[in-house]
C-alpha cells in the first residue's frame, strides 16, 4: 500500500503506437478489495490500459505503482509474481494440459514464492470448486465450451494468488444466464479479498458489480464515479451515443 492506502496507482500514463496516441495522460487508482469498472467505446484504450498495468505493453510516459512500488519497467512475469493477474478477452488456455494442470502453472510460477508448495493441488481444487469445476479437474482444457473457457480463464488468473485481478471482457458473447454465473464467480473472489478491475461492454453487469467506474474515450479519461453518477453523466452519454 502506498501513502494514500491505494493498491494500484496509475499516474499520467501515455501510450503511443507510432503517431497514434492510444492513452493520453491518464491517471487512475484502485483501492484494496475494490471492485472497479473500466468502460468506454471500442478503441477507447481500455485494453491498452490493462496491458500497461499487466506488463504486456510498456508505457512511454507516466508511472504504474503497485503497493507503493514502482513497477513501470517490470516484465509481465515479474508483475504476476507481485500479485497482478489478468484474464484474456479471448480465452488462452494451455490446450495440451488438463484443467488442473492449467491451474498449476500460475501456482508454480506467479505464486511460487508466496504459497506453501505442498498445498498447491488443494488450493487449485478449492478455486476450481469456486467455478464449479471440482469434478472436472482431469478433463482436457482443449475441448471446453466458451463459457467453461471463461471460467477456466478466471480460475487460472485466481490461481496466481493475486491482489488484483484484471478481468478483460470475461462475459462478452455469453448468454444472460451465463453472465450471471460469471458475475457470481467475480463476487465470490472479491469476497476473498481480491480487488477486481472489470472491463466490460455489458452495462447491466458493470452497473451491478462495480463500486466505482472510470470511463475512457479516445484515450482520454472523461468521467469517474459511482455507477449512478456515471449513468447520469452527459459526457458519457455523448461518448457512447454521439451528439
Amino acid at each position: 500500500m502506498d501513502a494514500d492506502g491505494r493498491l494500484l496507482d496509475v499516474h499520467g500514463l501515455t501510450k503511443r503506437f507510432g503517431g497514434f496516441v492510444a492513452l493520453n495522460n491518464v491517471s487512475m487508482h484502485l483501492n484494496p478489495r475494490e471492485r472497479l469498472g473500466l468502460i468506454g467505446p471500442n478503441g477507447s484504450g481500455k485494453t491498452t490500459m490493462i496491458n500497461c498495468i499487466s506488463g504486456a505493453l510498456f508505457n512511454e510516459e507516466g508511472s504504474v505503482v503497485f503497493r507503493g512500488e514502482e513497477i513501470t519497467g517490470l516484465p509481465a512475469f515479474k508483475r504476476a509474481e507481485l500479485g497482478i493477474s489478468r484474464s484474456f478477452q479471448i480465452p488462452r488456455p494451455f490446450r495440451t494440459m488438463s484443467i488442473l494442470e492449467n491451474m498449476l502453472v500460475p501456482m508454480e510460477y506467479a505464486a511460487w514464492g508466496r504459497v506453501d508448495h505442498a498445498t498447491h493441488e488443494d488450493r487449485a481444487m478449492e478455486i476450481l470448486a469456486l467455478v464449479g469445476f471440482q469434478d472436472r479437474a482431469q478433463e482436457n482444457s482443449g475441448n471446453l465450451t466458451q463459457v467453461d473457457l471463461r471460467k477456466l480463464e478466471l480460475a487460472r488468473a485466481l490461481a496466481a494468488q493475486p491482489d488484483v485481478l484484471v478481468s478483460d471482457e470475461s462475459m462478452a458473447g455469453l448468454s444472460s444466464a451465463e453472465v450471471d454465473e460469471v458475475l457470481e464467480i467475480l463476487f465470490k473472489l472479491n469476497e476473498r479479498g481480491v480487488a477486481v478491475i472489470m472491463i466490460e461492454h455489458i452495462m447491466r453487469a458493470v452497473m451491478r458489480y462495480c463500486e466505482r467506474i472510470y470511463v475512457l474515450d479516445a484515450g482520454q479519461l472523461i468521467a469517474e464515479g459511482t455507477p449512478e453518477e456515471i449513468q447520469g453523466n452527459p459526457d458519457v452519454e455523448r461518448a457512447y451515443l454521439g451528439e
Binding site: 499487466s54 506488463g55 504486456a56 516484465p75 509481465a76 512475469f77 504476476a80 509474481e81 493477474s85 489478468r86 484474456f88 488462452r92 488456455p93 494451455f94 490446450r95 495440451t96 494440459m97 494442470e101 498449476l104 502453472v105 500460475p106 508454480e108 510460477y109 506467479a110 505464486a111 511460487w112 478433463e139 482436457n140 475441448n143 487460472r156 496466481a160
Partner: protein, 317 residues
C-alpha cells in the same frame, strides 16, 4: 529414499550394454548400436526445444556438426582425450545454442524454423572454408588400434555412447517432469498467457536452446572418431538432420520417452534395412514413416497408446 523404476531401468540398460560388450564378437552390433544411440541423443536433444518448448526447428542438427568439428579442431590442436573433447564440444555448442537462442527466439513458428535452417547453412559455409579443420576436403582421424578395458575401439565407442544417451535421457526426463517442464509446456501452448501467469518465458527458452545445443554437441563430438574421416557434407548430412526430427515425431514429442521410443524403433529399422536391402532405401523409409505419422498420428506412438488406453477406460473423451 525411494528408488524409482526409472533409475533401476538405467542401471539395467547399462549393465546389459556391458554384458553385450563382454559376450558379443560381431563388431557390426556395436557399429549399428552406436548409430542408433547417436540418433537417440539427437532425438532427445531436438525434443527439448522442438517438443517440450514447441519451437520446431530444422537447424539443430547443425549443432551436431559443430560438436564434431569442435572435436576435430581440438584434436588438431592437441591430442586431448576423447572425454575432454566431448565436454568442451558440449560447452561450445551450449554457448552457441544460448547465443542463437537470444537472436532467434523472437521469431515463432515457421519463421523460427527457417531462421534455424539458415543458421545451419551459415555454419556449413564457415566450416567448408576453414582450412584448419580440412575445409571441403575433410579431415582424417587415426583411431587407436588398442584401447584399455575393451576388446576394440568400436566397443568402447558403443559403451561411451550408451552412457551419454542415458545421461541425456535422464536430463530430458528431469526437465519434463519438474516444475520447469510445466513452464516449457505452457510456453508451447501459449507464450503470452504463460508470461502473464508468471512464467519467465525468455529465461526458460534460453535454457531450452542451451540444453539442446549441449546434447547435440555431445552427440557430435565422438562422430569423427567413429567414422575416422569427416567432411562438411557428412557432418551436415541431410539424413542425420531429418532423423533428429523424425524420431521424436514418430515416438511422440510431449513426453520424455517419446523420442526414445522413436529413435530405438526408427534407428533399428534403418540398420536392418541397410544390411538386408540397401542403404538408399533408408531415406525413403524415414520419409514414408514420417509422412504416415504426421498425417495419421500427429501425437506419435505415445499418443496412439494414450488414445487406446482412454478408449479402453471408456468415456471416449
Amino acid at each position: 529414499m525411494k528408488i524409482s523404476g526409472f533409475w533401476i531401468g538405467i542401471v539395467l540398460v547399462l549393465a546389459a550394454g556391458f554384458v553385450l560388450a563382454g559376450v558379443a564378437d560381431n563388431q557390426f552390433l556395436f557399429f549399428a548400436g552406436y548409430v542408433v544411440l547417436q540418433g537417440l541423443i539427437m532425438a532427445v536433444a531436438w525434443n527439448v526445444l522442438g517438443g517440450f518448448t514447441g519451437y520446431v526447428n530444422f537447424g539443430s542438427a547443425g549443432f551436431f556438426a559443430i560438436g564434431a568439428y569442435t572435436a576435430i579442431a581440438l584434436h588438431q590442436f592437441a591430442e586431448l582425450p576423447l572425454l575432454v573433447l566431448i565436454v568442451i564440444a558440449g560447452i561450445v555448442c551450449g554457448l552457441i545454442g544460448l547465443g542463437t537462442g537470444y537472436l532467434t527466439l523472437r521469431l515463432r513458428g515457421v519463421y523460427f524454423a527457417i531462421a534455424t535452417l539458415a543458421m545451419a547453412i551459415v555454419f556449413e559455409s564457415l566450416i567448408t572454408n576453414w582450412d584448419y579443420v580440412g575445409g571441403s576436403a575433410g579431415a582424417y582421424v587415426i583411431t587407436p588400434a588398442e584401447v584399455p578395458f575393451f576388446d576394440s575401439f568400436i566397443e568402447m565407442m558403443f559403451i561411451l555412447m550408451l552412457v551419454l544417451s542415458l545421461i541425456c535421457v535422464a536430463v530430458s526426463r528431469y526437465l519434463s517432469m519438474s516444475r520447469m517442464g510445466r513452464g516449457l509446456a505452457s510456453i508451447r501452448d501459449d507464450e503470452t498467457a504463460a508470461e502473464c501467469m508468471g512464467v519467465p518465458t525468455l529465461r526458460l527458452k534460453l535454457i531450452s536452446t542451451t540444453v539442446m545445443g549441449v546434447m547435440m554437441g555431445v552427440a557430435g563430438a565422438p562422430f569423427p572418431f567413429f567414422v575416422t574421416y569427416i567432411n562438411p557434407l557428412s557432418a551436415f548430412d541431410l539424413l542425420i538432420a531429418v532423423n533428429a526430427i523424425a524420431m521424436p515425431m514418430i515416438g511422440g514429442t510431449a513426453v520424455w520417452f517419446g523420442p526414445v521410443i522413436g529413435a530405438l524403433l526408427l534407428g533399428t529399422i534403418q540398420q536392418i534395412v541397410t544390411v538386408t536391402i540397401s542403404s538408399e532405401l533408408n531415406i525413403l523409409i524415414v520419409g514414408v514413416v514420417l509422412i504416415g505419422f504426421v498425417a495419421l498420428a500427429p501425437r506419435g506412438i505415445v499418443g496412439l497408446f494414450q488414445d487406446f488406453a482412454r478408449k479402453r477406460r471408456g468415456g471416449g473423451k
